[in-house]
Amino acid sequence: MELMGIWIPILSIVTYIPLVGALAIVFLLPKEKTGAIRTLSTLTVIVGFVASLPLWFFFERAHPGYQFVEIAPWIPSLGVNYHFGIDGISLVLVLLTTLMGIIAVVCSYTAIVERQKEYYVLLLLLQTFMLGTFCSLDLFLFYVFWEVMLVPMYFLIGVWGSDRRLYAAIKFFLYTLAGSVLMLLGIIALYFYNTTGFLGYKGLNNSPTFSIEKLTLVAQSMPVELQIWLFFAFFLGFAIKVPMFPFHTWLPDAHTEAPTAGSVILAAVLLKMGTYGFVRFSLPMFPDAITTPWVLGVMVTLSIIGIVYGAMVTLVQKDMKRLIAYSSVSHLGFVMLGVFALNMAGIQGAILQMVNHGISTGGLFLLVGMIYERRHTRLISEYGGLAKQMPIYATYFLIMALSSMGLPLLNGFIGEFTILQGAFAKSFWWAFFAATGIVLGAAYLLWLYQRVFFGEITNPANASLPDLTGREQLTLVPLVVLALWIGLYPKPMFDVLRVPSEKIVQAVGGKTATEPMLAREEPGASGRAPSPGAALP
């Protein structure tokens, strides 16, 4: 980025601020000074967030390529570069990550009492690795961040988690690792296809590179059967992370056992890595594979099963945190359905819904964490009538629940509606099944709300619960503001997402015409006239 004639590597700065903070804590602060450690961590994430804000303002919406690009050779022998850059999709995810970083740190003040130094160091490291993943434009670099991210998360769950934390931590690590090592082989195969060829496939004899832009073009020229192989190699890595049915079983355990900040980060950011992988790699790189009818059929079927099955399992949960965890399976199924609709509305809706899910599910985990800190139980049956005792808490919970179930005027509605539009353009039945997911979603959230907040206080332990503190509200306010902003005026989001989504849709040979209805502009309002096919088909 140029500022007053000076070139600033803004993405690296944003990415490594948390790392610098973590190192400062390691080397400068003794572990007894917990107050100073908390202050420094908070300062670090706030500075990181502020540093990331210029990205939103200086980002050129109409620019077709990657922006704020930084590139330097890293391992020239292999053609690996240190290559950072973002487009609209990564932009919103980077901002979501830096914002969630603040919330994760601030919500841990009272929840974490043991081994605070290690905790905040790990949280900050995780922040750097997640940002690096979203900013990487080099496949090798991406893989490095993608893998190393598992380590701090493993420890966050394993040290500060609840009863079954050991099991949940190693399960999380092994599941995601198993998926991503196969992706590594996919990356190697791409590398050879670009250079000298392998397994009987003639290579293109280009100079070795891991550049995502270049390899995307290379991958598109592959024969279909090779594309399908590589699609599934990448698919495993991403689908486990999302998680798509049937790879979702690690998620309820990890979410439930993780400390609050861990669950928030998991839900808000980590799961998005998977869906991000699909839109960044799987779709543009292997368009012939994804448009192969049986592949697309499998993908859509898995997404729909995820939506419906996830929602039905959510209904029967007795543990609040587990309930919200399972609801993620359903919501992420929605995102995947939008992705596989392969049209403008579907993909833009999916990316927007990624952000929305981060806001609302992150918020719900935050809220469950707050009540857990007071009562040390997450069982729904332990609660009831909280609305009287904790009106502020009840209000925030309601807003987040409504946003999660997709009530109009809140963010979830925009995402779900747009995904449904995209799915409907493909097939009535896709939209039909997805809509049942929405109905079930309203059911489990409202039922949860009813059981926890309405009625008389039956459990004496709940009779004297203090309402939210100022600090706790401070972590929730940004989420509420964002939920309302996206719900009322989503156009800025769609503006950012349009160009990269267009590229993806063109790559998979879909119609760019199915613009999201909610993003449509009045004719003449700007230079861009609405396309004729913008109405519902």
Binding site: S77, V144, E147, L185, F198
Partner: protein, 482 residues
């Protein structure tokens, strides 16, 4: 055969190391009370001097210099292995200071034997003739049998030495028989000469039997399945610094010989030995990793883990016709030397502090008692599991690349899945260190051991984060296949 002045110069590393070994032996005989620490540092000094000599010789004019009429050769390949093996001796001596010092056995023999093993290894990697390789291998093996049984009053140590000796002698016999068959068919012992003869020759069954026997003998030395059964017992019974040394030093030498013989002499017959190596590699990865899952004794677990790592390295042998094959082996062995030695050095650390480090639970709560040790251990474990950005990841990346390029995609898939499995047992140690409460006061390490561990940790991270200089330097160390 006549000695020339340059021969003396080129052999100077081996000669210096031999002299140092004899000196240490004499000191301990004539000055019985000589302090063990002094001997250890003398070993370090002599080895460091040898490293300097090898580094000096790497600038010797002309590449691939024949020594003693072609019995040995000094090329970049040999120089790389010599440097790495000498470093492993330095690390072993540093890790032994307290350990051997506290034991009721004379230290002189220990360090002398260590140096003699080193001399054997240095000769092995330079060997350019089947006979010279065999003699060097025996020098290395005989010294190491004694090292394994160095704690002679302890049953486990003696048992380890005996097992190592019996099986080692048997495998040497197999190797020798193979060498004799090859000689019988060709009438030639020099490796370049063999390559020349084979270039136009038809293969005979007798020759294939010879090749197979040589392969079996060498696979024993690198502990590949099914020749691995000695490893857990020897690794468990031998004094831990010796185990650390066995897991890297002699293996390096065996890999060098394997590469030199099979890349140069038997390259033409790779269609015949390729499939065998592929099956052995697959079996080694699976058996090593699965057996490691079942261990509760740390040394046995690490023994099986090093078996698994031998399997990964064999992927590079398969890819010898690709750019990445031998290159990958060199990078991987470099990474492996530091990360594996580091892990064992930390086991030594716990043992010298009075913890047996027998079971995983001895690592309980290490993070509370010595955070640095726990973090360093974690780095080694991550590197062994191949998680970036560590040396182990870079090494594995090259090996997987080599397997894909050589057309063994199924083996690459198996290898990546197995390396995911390996995380499970490595992280049992991580979980013990960080998640479980352990009792005990804070632990402090000795300077010598700390130095050894920090060298390993620094290399593990450095090669992972900035691999370019190392990777590029190693590209020049690859020997050419005819």
């Amino acid at each position: 055969m006549k000695f020339s002045a340059s021969d003396w110069l080129l052999l100077s590393p081996e000669l210096v190391l031999t002299a140092a070994g004899l000196l240490i032996l004499s000191i301990s005989v004539f000055f019985g009370k000589a302090k063990e620490e002094f001997l250890a540092y003398l070993t370090v000094l002599a080895t460091a001097a040898t490293i300097g000599l090898v580094a000096f010789l790497s600038g010797y004019p002309g590449r691939e210099v024949p020594i003693l009429g072609g019995m040995f050769v000094l090329d970049n390949f040999a120089i790389f292995f010599k440097l790495l093996m000498l470093v492993s001796i330095v690390l072993t001596a540093l890790a032994s200071v307290r350990f051997v010092g506290n034991a009721p056995y004379p230290g002189g023999e220990y360090y002398a034997l260590l140096l003699f093993t080193g001399v054997g290894m240095l000769f092995m990697v330079s060997g350019n003739n089947l006979v010279s390789i065999y003699v060097a291998l025996e020098l290395m093996a005989l010294s190491s049998y004694v090292l394994a049984g160095y704690f002679k009053a302890e049953i486990k140590s003696t048992e380890a030495a005996l097992k190592y000796f019996v099986l080692g002698a048997f495998s040497s016999g197999v190797l020798l028989y193979g060498l004799s068959l090859v000689y019988g068919v060709t009438g030639e012992m020099g490796i370049p000469e063999l390559a020349k003869i084979f270039a136009g020759a038809e293969k005979s069954n007798l020759l294939l039997v010879g090749i197979l026997l040589i392969l079996a003998g060498l696979l024993f030395k690198i502990a590949a399945v099914p020749f691995h059964v000695w490893v857990p017992d020897v690794y468990e019974g031998a004094p831990t610094p010796v185990t650390a040394f066995f897991s890297v030093g002699p293996k390096l030498a065996a890999y060098a010989v394997l590469a030199r013989i099979f890349y140069v002499a038997f390259a033409r017959f790779h269609a015949d030995w390729g499939l065998i190596v592929a099956i052995v590699a697959a079996a080694t990865m699976v058996v090593g990793n699965v057996a490691a899952l079942l261990q509760s004794n740390v040394k046995r677990m690490l023994a099986y883990s090093s078996i698994a790592h031998a399997g990964y390295a064999l992927l590079g042998v398969l890819g010898f016709r690709t750019e990445f094959g031998l290159w990958g082996i060199l990078i991987y062995l470099l990474a492996y030397t530091f990360m594996n030695f580091g892990v064992f050095a930390l086991v030594v650390f716990l043992e010298t502090k009075g913890y047996a480090a027998e079971s995983v639970s001895d690592f309980n709560g290490l993070a509370k008692r010595n955070m640095t040790a726990a973090v360093v251990m974690l780095i080694f474990l991550l590197s062994l599991a191949g998680i970036p950005p560590t040396a182990g990841f870079i090494g594995k990346y090259y090996l997987f690349t080599s397997a894909m390029k050589a057309g063994y995609a199924w083996l690459a898939v198996l290898a990546v899945l197995m390396s995911a499995v390996s995380l499970f047992y490595y992280f049992r140690i991580a979980a013990a260190m960080f998640f479980t409460e352990g009792e005990g006061a804070p632990l402090k390490s000795s300077y010598a051991l700390t130095t050894a561990v920090l060298i390993c940790a620094a290399m593990t991270i450095l090669v992972g984060v900035a691999p370019q200089p190392v990777v590029e330097a190693l590209r020049a160390c690859v020997i050419k296949t005819p």
